[in-house]
Structure formats: C-alpha cells, structure tokens
Symmetry: C2
Subunit: 263 residues, 2 copies
Amino acid sequence: MKISLIGSGNVATNLAIGFHKTGHKIVQVYSQNQINAGELAQKTGSLPISSIHQLNPAVDMILVCVTDKAIQTVIEKIGFEPQLIAHTSGSIPMNTLSRFNNYGVFYPLQTFSKNRIISLTEVPICIEANSTDNKIKLEKLAKTITRSIKYLDSEERKQCHLSAVFANNFVNHFYVIAEQILKEKNISFELLKPLILETAVKVQSINPIEAQTGPAARYDTGTIETHLNELKSDKFEKLYRFVTESILETSFKQNTPDTHLNK
Amino acid sequence: MKISLIGSGNVATNLAIGFHKTGHKIVQVYSQNQINAGELAQKTGSLPISSIHQLNPAVDMILVCVTDKAIQTVIEKIGFEPQLIAHTSGSIPMNTLSRFNNYGVFYPLQTFSKNRIISLTEVPICIEANSTDNKIKLEKLAKTITRSIKYLDSEERKQCHLSAVFANNFVNHFYVIAEQILKEKNISFELLKPLILETAVKVQSINPIEAQTGPAARYDTGTIETHLNELKSDKFEKLYRFVTESILETSFKQNTPDTHLNK
C-alpha cells in the first residue's frame, strides 16, 4: 500500500517504521515539527512535507497520527478526497472524519515511544470503518503487521482507551513513584525490575484478582499503618491510602463491613 | 543445606521448591494449616508437622515465612537455639529475632503465588544478618538460587518493600480496574495483555519518567475530561483524577502553575 502520514510522534514513528519494514511504501510525512518530519521521512525512505497542502492525493491511504486535539484542525486543511483516510486515536469517534467519503480508524492498543521501536506483531489493531470495503482494506493492512485484529465501534474503542490509561499510564506512574521512594535511601531502581516484569507476566496467565498480593490483599493493617507513617510526601500518602482502600474493597467485599483506614 | 520452614503460603512454597530443586534438603514444614503444610511437604520431600514444638533442632537453618503479624507469635514458641534463623519479611526489622544467637533476614523482592511457581534466578534476595558468619551463610544459600543478591539493613529493606507495594500491589490493582472497565462493554482482558507486558518491558531499559505516555503526559485536558465523564464509578473517577493530577505534577513541574483538574 502507498501510505502518507500526518504526524511524526510516538505512534506515527512506530507505525511508519512497521509499515516500511513490511514492504509498504511511505510516500510523505507531514508534521508541524520540521525536524521530526525529516527524521521519520529519512527512516522510512519518504518525503517530508511542511504543509498539508503539499499532500499528494495519489496514495492508497492517509493515516492521521496527531494528538486528539489536533485531529480536527489537521483534517480541515485536506483539500482533496483521499482514497481512504484513517486516524489512530483511541478516544476520537470515527465520524470526526465524516466529511470524507472513505474513512475509518486504525487504533494500535499499545504504548509507543519514538526512541523505542517495537515489534508490532502482537499489538492489537482496533479497526472501525464507514463501509465494508474500507473495513476490508484496513483489515488487509493490519494483517501485514500484526496477528491481532479487533473490530470495535467508537464507544467500545473509547472504553478500551480508558482501561489502557489505568493499565499503562497509571501503572507507569507508579513505577515513577516507586523509583522516587527508592531514591530516598539511594537504592537503585534496578532492584525492582524483576518484580515489575513478573507482575506483568503473571497476569498473562492468571486473572488479576487472583494475582493480587501484598498487605492490602492480606488485610495486614499493621503493615499498612507502618507504610502510611513512613511515606514522607502527602501526595504519596494520599495515593497509598486511596489505592489500598480500593484493594481492600475489592478483596474483602463480603467479609469486612468497613475498609476505611484510620490514620 | 538442611532447611526447615515455618509457613506454607506463597513465599514459603516458592522458596521451598526453589531450594528443593537446587539440592537443598527441606526437612520439615510447619503450618497452622495442616492441608497446606502437607501439600508443600509432599512437593519438597519433607515432613509436615502440626506443632512448632515438633521442630527438629538438627537443621542448618529455620526459615520463617509467615505473615508479618504472625512472626512474633511463632518465634516465641521456638524452645531451642537454632543454628540459624531468618525471616523473609520486607517490613519486619531483623532484631525481632534478637532473642536468638544467630539470625538474619532472607527477603526475596518478588510477588509470589502458590499456584505459580517461578524461577528464582533473577529474583533479588535481600540479606541482613547479625554477624559476618551468618551473612556469609545466607549469601552462600542465596547464591544457589539467584544471580541477584543485595545487602540491605532493616530501614532500607522497609523502603524497598514500600516501593514494591506501588510497583506490584498497586499496579496489579490497576489491572483489576482495567479489566472491570472493559467488562462494562463485554471486551476481553486479553486485548490489554500486550500493552501490560510492553509497559513493564519498556522500563527495563528506559527510565519510567521517559516512558510515560498518555493524556496526562501530553497535557491533553480534553481527553482527561472525557474520561472523567465516562467513568461510572465514583471510586474509579476519584482514582483517575488523583493519579492524573500526580502525573501532571511530575511531568509539568516547571511549566504549569496549576495542575488541579476541574470537573
């Protein structure tokens, strides 16, 4: 397929390189940021462009990989009817693209960073399209890069994105906090890496509720109180209290009438 | 080494099986729970006992793998002087064992479940001992099961345990919440597994602050507001707001004067 990209960020970079590697032709890369566009264009043998008006209509698909708030502005500037246009956002409804004839969504459910190019073969690609033909086109494209394709409507995709915020963004933030807690005693984050990995590997085969361990899951209020006293930051203490109460509620639904922690 | 275990839970099971596999002799397993003691004894070719008074003093080490609040009660019942006694707790100070002559701590920094026996070769074993001799003994034992040994005093170990609560217990709870959010639209948790795995793999080589992605890390307040409106549970909404504000503070320390989210 001949594909042009709007955007040169984390998602654009990983997808464009994935497409390039599997034999697709990346024709043009547009980005507000000239340096980023240039870099991605170089990595994918394509042409960086500095204005959306320079987009070549003679491609099979235009893939919009910009931030959610930029999508509307960007697509308004497209002055021709693309063969097919899709965005890659989890939370923006498909019909944002309804001024075109052929459109859809190509949402990779994964965390991407520009400086970490990952294999796409296990990444779920969530597809939505405005016609069966366009759905087949997007499916065919997805199949060239992944084994995992899922059809989700805009509401379902939004729900997936919301759950992904917990499973990735919030999880990663807790890694950040764990690192900060270790730093107080000059202990290296290295020490936590096997634990972090096993935590994620465990729920690949065990249900997360069964995988839960730790003081809250054991109703070990002594250790919980000790931890609350140990935490020097108000923010961390509040977070600790809050998540612990949530674990207690989940783990002891039937057994304990009151899971509110005293200070 | 000849080792007897007090406890037959998640930690006891994984350690005992690890020791057994590497050629150590598990002599006895004591547990309040007769069935658990019997099961673990069977898996490790050892003898289940139903009273601490039945403990055979002729072993090289007694390993106390019970919950934090049970440690004191259990050790008070030991009526002889063991060659060496160690507990496996992250938060209990070593000197809880100071009524004995030879004692220490053998704390594996990992999440264990009885129904998931994992390889111990990468699990950091955090050691503390009341003498150089005992430290050498514990180190020698640790070396037979892992490549990763760390010396931590009781304060440092407590801090590690606290950071591990964020990196494992709280992280796993967010997997639970993510699963619940998906369930509202009958979407399988399977879809999140590659994301969960990559989130953990990513911070094995990238600093967690650099690995942060998502609406909060992009200061995408539009998506954040949409998510807050979408969340049906008050608890989830409060958690979302709280963790998001914490990410905003971490990511935009210098740039934004006010990171408090409006409803």
